[in-house]
């Protein structure tokens, strides 16, 4: 089993960090940097374990980019074409949560919302919480579109962790039993 997280490759870390720090990223460079990160992880962290017959658990996948980039008004089809090099996952699960729940959970954990996470780069609101609500609502809308388009399995993430895990394990077991591991 192998776990890979979004935006974790060493290759583009410096540029992403610098760009985020200076709030210098445009929707397009934000999109391309994340695609570069993904490409790097695909080659080094995803494809080799797949070839070795391992299970790759990806914490976020291309759908995150589809949703965020489109919410930033990058062309939807362009982003999908951009990730044309990605391997289609055997199972994609989307944990859906209402915007207020997401906001409550984040604010309970952290003092401050991150600039890009709150979509502050778009200038929709100077208030981080309000900006987050506007931007992430748009992201959620995009996810709903992606769920239909790519047959993602939806789990209600406002349910208890035990319930979510039971459903999640069920979805994963289904697919693992279909093929030898």
């Amino acid at each position: 089993m192998f776990v890979t997280e979004w935006n974790s490759s060493a290759l583009v870390k410096a540029a992403t960090k610098a760009g985020k720090k200076k709030n210098a990223l445009t929707p397009m460079t934000f999109s391309l940097l994340h695609a570069t990160d993904f490409a790097d992880r695909l080659m080094y962290k995803i494809i080799p374990p797949l070839k070795a017959g391992m299970i790759v658990l990806a914490d976020r996948y291309t759908y995150t980019a589809f949703a965020r980039d489109a919410a930033r008004n990058v062309d939807r089809q362009w982003v999908r074409d951009l990730y044309g090099f990605a391997v289609r996952p055997d199972r994609a699960v989307y944990f859906r949560v209402p915007i207020d729940t997401a906001l409550d959970r984040l604010l309970a954990r952290r003092v401050k919302l991150k600039f890009y996470e709150a979509g502050m780069d778009l200038g929709w609101s100077a208030n981080p919480t309000e900006s987050f609500r506007l931007f992430q609502s748009k992201v959620l809308e995009e996810y709903d579109r992606i769920v239909r388009e790519h047959d993602l399995h939806v789990i209600d993430a406002s349910a208890s962790i035990t319930d979510q895990q039971r459903l999640f394990r069920g979805l994963i077991s289904d697919i693992l039993e279909q093929k030898p591991v």
Binding site: A15, A24, T36, A39
Partner: protein, 260 residues
């Protein structure tokens, strides 16, 4: 641009000053007064010299000029330099890092300059990326879609030279380097052979694009003065029709290469 039009992707037939494909939906570039003039050609063909001379000539004529060059973006330059010095780049990340560099310069340098009515002199444009990717067997359709956010230049000059003449020039100027020689393609250890083969393949890609994107081809083996004269004639005709007076004299009276 409608979705239907943008399906044309980066193929020719796009109006200069418009996006090749899907573009940047959050940026409106319609009717910007500036112009993009791109100079393409392989390493060592003399692009920078020509651009320095062009800049001086244009500024004397009262044009505002902005230069933009490959991998010079503030955002990406350190990362690209670092990545090239390590062994972790693969053809995909190579392509994407360059695209990111181009996007940063497009939005931070090129578009603002076009809006303000400047002439953008581009030392290499997306075609360098397309040629390098082509040699590395990156999917042609995919990379043309990728660069669908680029703006079609008003003029693209391609300084054409053969691989042998180029090899001599590069050797005189300081020697062959790893990436210019396509050493990442792992074709062998002989840098001269690799350089020549790699540059030949690049030249083939450029030639194929000359028709696709309407390059204005200039013989890169000619003298600096002769090439500059040709560039000035064609740019002059474009910027100030009818043709400006005696471009040949203008070249002769200039005091050598630009001070840049």
């Amino acid at each position: 641009m409608s979705d239907h039009d943008s399906e044309l992707g980066a193929h020719g037939g796009v109006t200069p000053g418009r996006f090749y494909g899907h573009g940047l939906p959050y940026v409106s570039i319609n009717d910007y007064p500036g112009k993009i003039i791109a100079i393409e050609g392989t390493d060592g063909v003399g692009r920078s010299t020509q651009i320095a001379l062009l800049r001086e000539w244009l500024e004397v004529r009262g044009y505002g000029v902005v230069e933009t060059g490959w991998t010079r973006s503030a955002l990406m330059q350190p990362t690209i330099t670092l990545a090239k010095s390590s062994n972790t780049l693969n053809k995909l990340t190579f392509v994407l890092l360059y695209a990111c560099d181009f996007a940063d310069r497009l939005e931070k340098e090129i578009i603002p300059a076009l809006k303000a009515g400047f002439i953008v002199l581009a030392d290499r444009y997306i075609f360098t990326a397309l040629a390098r990717a082509g040699v590395r067997d990156v999917d042609r359709e995919w990379i043309r879609q990728l660069y669908g956010f680029a703006i079609a230049p008003h003029q693209v000059f391609y300084l054409k030279i053969d691989a042998e003449a180029l090899a001599r020039r590069v050797l005189q100027a300081g020697g062959m380097e790893y990436w210019e020689s396509g050493m990442d393609l792992k074709a062998g250890d002989d840098i001269y052979d690799n350089f020549r083969n790699y540059q030949r393949q690049l030249l083939k890609e450029y030639s194929a694009m000359a028709d696709e994107f309407g390059f204005r081809v200039i013989d890169g083996r000619k003298s600096i003065g002769a090439i500059q004269e040709e560039l000035r004639r064609q740019i002059g005709e474009f910027l100030e029709p009818p043709p400006i007076e005696k471009p040949a004299d203008a070249v002769a009276q200039e005091p050598g290469p630009g001070s840049l």
